[in-house]
Amino acid sequence: MDSVEEPLSRAPLVLNRRNFSWLTERISGVVEQPAPRWWWVCFTITGTIATFGLFCLGYQISTGVGTWGLNHPVGWAWDITNFVFWIGIGHAGTLISAILYLLRQRWRTSINRSAEAMTLFAVMCAAIFPGVHVGRVWMAWYLAPLPNNWGIWQNFRSPLMWDVFAVSTYFTVSVLFWYTGLIPDLATLRDRATTKIRKFLFGFFACGWRGSNRNWRHYEMAYLLLAGISTPLVLSVHSVVSFDFATSILPTWHTTIFPPYFVAGAIFGGFAMVLTLLIPARAMFKLHDIITPQHIDKMAKIILLTGSFVGYAYMMEFFTAWYSGNSYERFAFWNRVFGPYWWYWWVGMLFCNMLSPQLFWFRWCRRNVYVVYFVCMCVNAGMWFERFIIIVGGLHRDFIPSSWGMFYPTWVDLWTYIGTLGIFTSLFLLFVRFLPMIAMSEVKITLPEADAHYGSTNGQHPAAAGGKERM
């Protein structure tokens, strides 16, 4: 039961010496058993909120984006804040499935599937905002370089155009990666299906997977290469998002530190959201042996690491502003801390993003789910505030004091944002009920008996240590 890592042995990734069939039963059971009462409670709440959000979307599309609080001088506010917020959350999934795969971090297997699903839902929520911000949504196809009868083409050197390609590529590659990983598990559900319709649907999407080693050979190569190409992709996406700001001339936006700062912030916020979803899901479906304290501990460490990157970037921005000697730049950062949006900085950036993750230096904090959950909630909120401060903080007081102004959100702004939270959580709850939320075929590899030399006399005997680490 002890999941603390000792210096010379690895703590087991699946506790209580569970075997293959236990893993299959427990993980498939989440899909096959009736939903627990808590699931229905959560889904009713999130579904209601999502309905509000959809209503707001319909209202603002039919009426126009004038229903938002955007006006001069703040032309980008909650919409783009929400876009960057959701895109950022989407980064944890691919980080876990790609970068941690290349780094041979086997603990990722318990969490990668749900993190990837979360990525997809987060990117869907993100896409809503620029889509609606276009104003006339039915003309969003102008973003695509298609021949048209006006003979007009896109400016491919615009960061906004790069963003279109980065986000759509990211979504597509994430879907492919996620689905490739799902195929063996869908085959498991197909083979366990008791009704004809389940058998047909899982069979259809499992593509007739047979677990053959001649297939696994190509499959593993495909997975490795997908991980390899997703790694620069995940780093590029938030870099490109940051270019939307960094290539402008506005103080606080025009910053070369933005790409790494945004990527670190995205991973930071994404991991917080993974934990926000997985800690309740783990309790709801009794997955404590698969998502162990060790997993939470490691994710908390990543939050600490990326949170410290982010804190460093915040401090460096102040230093650069001071060192630049540029009075607009200096004022913009002074305004960030002491201007009308002062408390956004003190609460959101300083307390939530810089200070709260520092609790994770202490093991008892990383091992206490309530502390972890508290920090994750702080980070979720803090990352939203951070994006708001960057976007609105830069716009509302620019070069000429006569053009200064404030941003006031309307009820449509508020409920569209809350609505996407509902859409996101509803989609996640549906995912948990209809697809295996943990990658069974990958978790099984982490068991000691998955080793081809397990129990043999000439191979190493890993039983005592709970499995060798290398794949």
Binding site: I152, T169, N213, A222, S441, A450, D451, H453
Partner: protein
């Protein structure tokens, strides 16, 4: 080859109690010189490719092909409109050699996108998937191949295949529930 009841024989198959047992059995079948055979497991077993005598997967070639075609697509898609159909001069930056770096992000994204499609379609095509019906599903024990079962299957198409030899080999290598699988 047919059974006394007139069924076509697809293969001779056996179940093994563990991944390690399957690994050892694969080495025996490989050394016996069989070519058309396969092992089935709920997860990829590390080292099994060598145990089966399989080489590295060249799926990577398709990914490279995808990546190159993505890059070329992006080059055509960007420079066609920008330099011929609809030249733009934004912020005093015309389309020329000096402004090429600003076209790179989309080239990168398209390269990644097409590589990913290459990997995805190659894994399906090289594995002969989707294939919803397969003779091996006729064996009722085989449903455990996606749960906790380890199977070795020698196809009747293999030139060395004889019922007696295949059965003997599977039993000798520790196989249980040695069975003939029908084609229909």
């Amino acid at each position: 080859m047919r059974t006394p009841f007139g069924h076509n024989v697809y293969a001779m198959a056996a179940e093994y109690p563990s991944a390690a047992a399957l690994y050892e059995a694969a080495k025996i079948v490989r050394d016996a010189g069989f070519k058309r055979w396969d092992v089935h497991s709920p997860f990829p077993i590390h080292g099994m490719d060598e145990a089966m005598g399989l080489k590295k997967s060249w799926l990577s070639g398709w990914v490279l092909f995808g990546g190159i075609s993505g890059l070329l697509t992006a080059v055509l898609m960007e420079f066609g409109p920008s330099s011929i159909l609809y030249p733009l001069d934004v912020h005093g930056k015309p389309t020329n050699f000096m402004t090429v770096p600003a076209f790179f992000p989309i080239m990168f994204e398209m390269t990644v996108l097409f590589s990913a499609f290459g990997a995805f379609f190659a894994v399906l095509i090289m594995n002969g998937l989707p294939r919803p019906h397969h003779p091996i599903f006729n064996w009722d024990r085989f449903s455990r191949a996606t749960n906790d079962g380890f199977f070795l299957v020698i196809e009747a198409r293999d030139p060395r295949f004889t019922e007696v030899e295949a059965r003997e080999l599977l039993e000798k290598s520790g196989g249980q529930h040695v069975t003939i699988i029908h084609d229909d």
